[in-house]
Every structure is written in C-alpha cells, then in structure tokens.
Assembly symmetry: C2
Homo-oligomer: 119 residues x 2
C-alpha cells in the first residue's frame, strides 16, 4: 500500500475523521488525505501542530521523560491525534470533536509501524 | 474544598496518577499535589508543558479552530493530560504510561469547573 492509501484507510475507518497526514517534524508534509476539510483549514493547522510536537519533544527530553509517542489536542472545532512514526516523521489524524477518538488512537498505533517500514 | 484537596482527590481517584497541578498558562504553579514523583522531575516537566499548551493555543487561534480544551502528551515514562480551566489557568494530571487515561480525562472535565468557580 502507498502512503496515501494508508492515510485514506485511517480516514475511512474512523467516524468523524476529516484528514490524515504523514509529515516531517519540521512541518513539511509528505502526504495528506483530506476526507472533509470542514470549516477549519486543516492542512495549515496540522503544519502548526508540528511545532507543538517539537515543543513537547524538547520538554520531555530536557526532563528525561523519554520520547514523545503521542499527543492529542482538542479544540472547540477539531480533535487532532499526533503519533510519532520515527524521529523525523509523524502521523496525525484530525477529527470532528464528536469523532471516534479511541479508534483514531488505535489505528495510528497500528498504522505507524507500517509507514515506518516504508520510509 | 481547597484547590489542594481537589488536586489530591484527582490523584487518589486515578490509577497510576503521580501528580496533579493547577497552573497559570505562564507556567507559574498555583498548587500541586505529588502522589509519587517517580523517576521524572514531574513539577519541572509540567512547567515546560505550559509552553506546549501556549503553542497549541496560538496555532488553534491562528487557524480559527477555537479554544484548546484539552491536550494529552504521552512519553515513554509519563502521560500528562492538560485541561484548560480558564483563559489564564489550566489543570494537569501526570500518570504512569499504564495509568487510567480515561478516568484522568473524565475527572479533569468534572473538576475544572469547580476550580474555575473558586479562582
């Protein structure tokens, strides 16, 4: 399966998913599937969230809490679940606030190793 | 109930909780209950996580995704769940990675309004 097919499959399998993306930790997108952009400019927001991931990684490393495996950020309009794929890449799925958070986390956990093996 | 009693009650009610804190978004602690510090310097890490919350708020506001209600950050050694209490304050509970994430989220959601009404 191509990167895009993996991302599309996550979107199709999670109720409320609006987009799924594979990105570099520098915020540069590798591939994104947008199921339903909705009111928010999801792509731009996910680029900004790469900065949030970098802040969390720096904080965790500085305090010897280990690597950051996952971050979830819930705003009024969008829930984003970020999962580290490798030291250089992460996956993120964006959902509506009433989307299936548990399934999104589960699918990121099982999909991340598949993407890592293809990077 | 005092702030400290609320924080202590969250720690006591969540399996794996190591600390619960009420903080300003500027990273200055109002009150913290530490149940079991473990290997990580939890207090210092939570101060750093206030910076992560600020990054997420700025990103969400810039892209009109609304206010940030909650952030969860999972590292190899610690899971932190952050919940906005008011524009100036947030609560955070830190757990061991195998702690009860669902219960932590639930208790933050019900405790945050109680703290807000006392601020």
């Amino acid at each position: 399966m191509s990167f895009h097919e993996h991302l599309e499959q996550v979107c199709r399998s999670v109720d409320g998913a609006v987009a799924c993306s594979l990105m570099g930790v520098d915020g540069i997108e590798v591939d994104t599937h947008v199921a339903d952009g909705g009111a928010v400019d999801v792509k731009s927001l996910l680029v900004e969230y790469s900065g949030v991931l970098r802040s969390a990684k720096e904080a965790a490393e500085a305090h010897e809490a280990g690597g950051v495996a996952e971050i979830a950020i819930a705003t009024d309009k969008l829930l984003a679940v970020v999962r580290t794929v490798s030291p250089e890449y992460f996956m993120v799925v964006a959902l509506t606030p009433d989307g299936n958070f548990g399934k999104a986390r589960y699918l990121l956990r099982v999909t991340a190793p598949k993407l890592r093996s293809e990077l």
